[in-house]
């Protein structure tokens, strides 16, 4: 019963998740992983930081999943801009970079998590569920 209620409420008020990655392939993979895990039925995408900033204001996502290395604006720069503009949103990195120093930088900047690429959809869901539930 509670499972049904949970599913029903998700449908009424789906999580809106913004994927920011300059790689179309990786946006597709992250999007697929979200759907497989039944996390976030409302997925929007941006291929660069400036586009993400616009979408953050217009679409107001619940969560941002962002790549670290992007040509125009890095993920870290995007997060800092969000803070500077007073935009509050759950933010995490999905990146092939995962050195301890980068994890520290990410956390210091306000990121909730850093998921390393590649990932299995199970591991991906395991990391995201508590964040979305909080």
């Amino acid at each position: 019963m509670s499972r049904f209620v949970s599913k029903f409420s998700e449908r009424l008020n789906p999580m809106k998740i913004l994927i920011v990655d300059d790689s179309r392939a990786m946006r597709m993979i992250v999007s697929r992983a979200l759907r497989q895990a039944e996390l976030g039925t409302d997925i929007i995408e941006a291929s660069c930081g400036p586009d993400a900033l616009k979408l953050l204001q217009s679409a107001q996502p619940d969560l941002v999943l962002c790549d670290w290395n992007m040509p125009e604006m890095s993920g870290l720069e995007l997060l800092e801009q969000l803070k500077g503009q007073g935009i509050t949103v759950k933010f995490g990195f999905v990146t092939s970079e995962s050195t301890p120093a980068m994890r520290t930088k990410a956390t210091d900047a306000g990121a909730l998590f850093l998921i390393s690429k590649p990932f299995t959809s199970e591991a991906f869901a395991e990391q995201l569920r508590p964040v979305l539930a909080s």
Binding site: S23, R24, A25, M26, M28, I29, N69, S96, E97, S98, T99, S116, K117, P118, F119, T120, S121
Partner: protein, 185 residues
């Protein structure tokens, strides 16, 4: 000594790096299986083969100072198969690319993402930190990509389940002191 010119994807005449550690077949299998979401098998040849790669695509990895540290070169068979598998592009599209010896834009973009993630294979075993900086098609590489006198190579056969496969040649500088834990994986 070594007949290959700098700036060319070499074949043969490479020092086998198994004596100093380096990337192992199991690490490639693990990373690509996870990334592609399907079984990938990798087998390392006992020594690099003389035959050149067929229509290669290469990723050049540079450290934070910009120095080239490694090159991953895939032949067209592996490049097309892995790139197609990444986003579930039908295997027939990969077969067409292999026959034409050229990757479509989407396959090339997908391969770039695979090569990008492959930086982990280097960062796990070397003390320096590298990222993928360039992707080159064909046998010509930037002049500083591979140091003529100081390199070692690993020659793998890699197969992606449901798609096919081909060769992967990994070239790194022979700098034993930068390996974190030799033969760790």
């Amino acid at each position: 000594m070594n007949s290959s010119k700098p700036g060319i994807v070499p074949s043969g005449a490479l020092t086998d790096s198994s004596c100093v550690g380096g990337i192992r077949a199991e690490a490639i299998e693990g990373l690509l299986t996870c990334l592609l979401g399907r079984e990938v098998k990798a087998h390392r040849q006992s020594r690099p083969r003389q035959a050149p790669l067929n229509s290669p695509t290469s990723g050049i990895y540079r450290d934070d100072s910009g120095q080239s540290r490694a090159v991953f070169s895939c032949d067209i068979g592996l490049a097309a198969s892995a790139a197609a598998a990444l986003t579930l592009i039908p295997p027939g599209v990969a077969s067409e690319a292999i026959a034409a010896k050229v990757l479509t834009d989407m396959l090339r973009e997908n391969l770039g993402e695979i090569l990008n993630v492959c930086a982990q294979l280097l960062n796990e075993i070397y003390e320096y930190h590298v990222v993928l900086r360039e992707v080159c098609t064909g046998h010509r590489l930037p002049p500083d990509a591979v140091d003529e006198s100081n390199r070692h190579g690993l020659d793998f056969d890699v197969t992606v389940r449901g798609y096919g496969g081909g060769r992967l040649l990994v070239l790194t500088r022979l700098e034993v002191e930068h390996i974190k834990v030799p033969n760790r994986r």
